[in-house]
């Protein structure tokens, strides 16, 4: 989730309040692990339905949304009590979703049905189903909320869905198996990761229509090129840095958004999948599916500072706002 730079500034001057919590979905363990975002201690682990993957929070941090892929629905939990409050219809096999910055609606990728489902989080009803390419996966929303972008893994496109009328207005071909879509907060750029293609497509959002300007590749000595598989990605809200999880390469790449050059690779746990910033963007949490842990990266130092064991096959992560 994008945090405004202003909020981040305020946070650093505010008195210490209750520490934020990190929620990690464990795909194989069917649980969510809760970490304290100050001490990085595990606070709790609770059952979250079958095959929990995509995970996000309401803007006020009170509601936790989890894609329970094998239950074909979204489960909603109270972030204080960890009780399940209700479920939302999602269409079959929900994997990833993105919440409108206002908290409503929720846009869900249905991997099995070539659809993006739009769900009203208050009335708990389906507002629209948008047909997209084969195997929809990644979901992103532009800072001005005008565009929801879905990536389709077998069609290999980024589909630009207009949030006014739920119509697709643009499609851009990217490399094989696009997994994740991340907009910068300033609305200038959209980044789409391609797992099998091994690249990040850079899409300029400032013109009349979105335009693919370049693709960023990766190279790590001693790692087979086939293992450099970009999956999750997060951009800092100042628009300077993009962090990209490289899956089985066990590294997070750090891209300078000003130059679009990869400046660093940070070694983390095994099969690094998704990423989440703390609200102040001091830390980045990575989920490492094959080592059952999360790695905490110091964002400014661009270094991994520690790893914490969580449940089985951690998939996604989200951190509560202040």
């Amino acid at each position: 989730m994008k945090r405004l730079a202003l909020a981040a500034l305020l946070a650093t001057t505010a008195l210490p309040a209750l520490a934020e919590k990190v929620f990690v979905s464990n795909e194989r363990g069917n649980t969510v692990t809760v970490l304290d975002a100050a001490s990085w201690e595990v606070l709790d682990e609770f059952a979250a339905g079958n095959r929990p993957r995509g995970i996000t929070l309401s803007p006020d941090g009170k509601l936790l949304y989890v894609c329970a892929s094998d239950d074909d629905l979204v489960r909603v939990f109270d972030t204080e009590t960890y009780q399940e409050l209700y479920t939302l219809p999602s269409g079959p096999d929900p994997e990833l979703f993105v919440l409108h910055p206002s908290g409503n609606p929720l846009y869900i990728a249905n991997e099995d049905d070539n659809l993006v489902t739009v769900v009203d989080t208050e009335s708990h009803t389906v507002l629209a189903e948008v047909p997209v390419g084969v195997e929809p996966e990644g979901m992103g929303i532009s800072a001005d909320s005008r565009w929801v972008v879905n990536t389709s893994e077998t069609t290999n496109m980024a589909h630009f869905i207009d949030t006014e009328d739920y119509e697709i207005k643009h499609n851009i071909l990217v490399d094989q198996r696009p997994r994740y879509a991340e907009f910068t907060a300033d609305g200038k750029w959209l980044f789409v990761t391609s797992e099998i293609g091994g690249t990040v497509s850079v899409i300029d959002m400032t013109g009349e229509a979105p335009t693919l300007t370049q693709k960023i590749g990766f190279e790590v000595s001693g790692v087979l090129p086939e293992w450099l598989q970009p999956v999750g990605a997060k951009a800092t809200s100042d628009g300077n840095w993009l962090f990209v999880a490289l899956g089985p390469a066990n590294r997070v790449a750090v891209i300078n958004i000003q130059t679009m050059e990869v400046e660093k690779y940070i070694l983390v746990g095994q099969r690094v999948w998704q990423l989440a910033f703390t609200p102040d963007e001091k830390f980045l949490v990575t989920t490492n599916g094959n080592s059952n842990d999360v790695t905490i990266i110091d964002v400014e130092a661009q270094e991994a500072i520690r790893s914490v064991q969580v449940g089985q096959q951690p998939w996604g992560a989200v951190v509560t706002p202040e």
Binding site: G133, E135, T154, T155, N156, Q176, Q214, K215
Partner: protein
């Protein structure tokens, strides 16, 4: 190889909806020869009517979905014929203007059809596994989606060597295809440092596949047939005709894992494969076909996905341009195997990982860790460029 920060031409905006560069109408055919065959040893292997064709329909649906965003459309025609009618039916397809044809046929028939087709037609081989077709008998108009016997044998050999099970007892059949497969295992053993300590032939004497209480005889015969062999770690079965290999596990004189034509089998795909997003492929296929996917379906699906991907990227339906694109460094496609699959430009063989299937789950995937190659780890499987006698691709 990854290209670094390639600046793309302005032409990319032509790929936006409403402004397709060219509206391609892609027609492809799937041509299957139905050979007379005995009933399979296992009822699980009864051949469905729509073998391969179901994969073609799924690929066409997948291609159509992508095409709908680009203004491209896809059409397929499926033809199945007995061997005696094959040449005439194939000529009729070519004369009807089909330029992209997926063929499901045996080695010798595929080779003859490739020559009948001539230049201007692109053939995609979905089933023939003979090494010669990728070697001295390669044809410029034929790309091989199916892996060769050598690729599959190498996949097994790498796993056995990784397990440190280097001593093999090989039991092979007596038909020509069985002998060719046995030769692939001999080469694989030599290539990866395993040793075939003894070979035995299990003669095909014909006879019915189904008898009441057939297992009683099998239980007596197989132990005797495998008695007194040299010390070995595993048994490699080379039974392309599928008449004895399934009887080997549990009936051997000396207990040992069986690999090859039964036990741990090298396959391109199977119905329980779920990794790398394959679950979605399986559910799409089962919804469409009402049955589990088979290798022939997957290979045909992949053949047409390869064509769809080339049409999408190269924005053309022209067969020479498609062939050139497929054999270029630009081409790659995701095939639910964790790495992109590409073509060997020197013999038209699709590079791909091979799944090692125990009948229920994927036990492993080759190439195995530690087997390296200067071009791609995938080229540790099968015939490599320096040893290939294929010249049709300009090599």
């Amino acid at each position: 190889m990854r290209n670094f920060a390639i600046m793309l031409a302005l032409g990319m905006c032509a790929l936006l909806v409403g402004a397709p560069a060219v509206a391609v109408e892609m027609r492809s055919a799937v041509f299957r020869i139905d050979y007379p065959r005995l009933a399979p040893i296992s009822r699980f292997d009864v051949v469905p009517e729509d073998l391969g064709f179901a994969g073609a329909v799924l690929a066409t649906e997948d291609n159509m979905t992508t095409g709908s965003f680009l203004g491209h459309s896809y059409e397929i025609e499926t033809v199945s014929v007995p061997p005696e009618g094959a040449d005439a039916a194939f000529k009729a397809l070519v004369e009807a203007g089909h330029e992209v044809i997926v063929v499901l046929a045996r080695d010798e028939d595929l080779l003859r059809l490739s020559d009948i087709a001539g230049e201007g037609v692109l053939i995609l081989n979905a089933t023939a596994q003979g090494v010669a077709l990728r070697d001295a008998e390669c044809r410029a108009n034929t790309l091989h989606i199916a892996p060769s016997d050598a690729m599959k044998a190498d996949a097994v050999a790498q796993f056995a060597v990784w397990k440190k099970w280097p001593e093999w007892l090989m039991i092979h059949g007596s038909n020509p295809a069985d002998l060719a497969l046995a030769e692939a295992y001999r080469r694989a053993a030599a290539k990866f440092g395993a040793q075939i300590v003894e070979e035995r032939e299990f003669e095909d004497t014909g006879g019915a596949r189904r008898t009441d209480s057939g297992h009683v005889l099998v239980q007596r015969q197989i132990p005797v047939a495998t008695q007194g062999a040299e010390d070995h770690d595993i048994v490699v079965a080379a039974d392309a005709s599928d008449y004895f290999a399934p009887y080997l596990p549990f009936h051997l004189w000396t207990p040992a894992p069986v690999m090859g034509s039964s036990g741990l089998r090298p396959v391109t795909f199977h119905a329980s494969q779920e990794a790398w997003g394959a679950t979605q492929f399986q559910t799409r296929f089962e919804e469409l076909a009402g049955r589990y996917v088979r290798e022939e379906d997957y290979n045909t699906w992949l053949a047409l996905r390869v064509i769809g991907e080339a049409v999408t990227r190269a924005s053309t339906g022209e067969v020479a341009a498609l062939r050139e694109y497929l054999l270029s460094d630009e081409f790659e496609v995701a095939a639910f195997k964790g790495v992109p699959v590409t073509f060997r430009p020197w013999n038209g063989q699709l590079r791909q990982p091979i799944l090692l299937f125990d009948g229920r789950i994927t036990a492993s995937v080759s190439p195995q860790d530690g087997f390296l190659h200067q071009v791609s780890p995938l080229d540790t499987l099968g015939l490599d460029e320096p040893e290939s006698a294929c010249t049709a691709f300009g090599g």
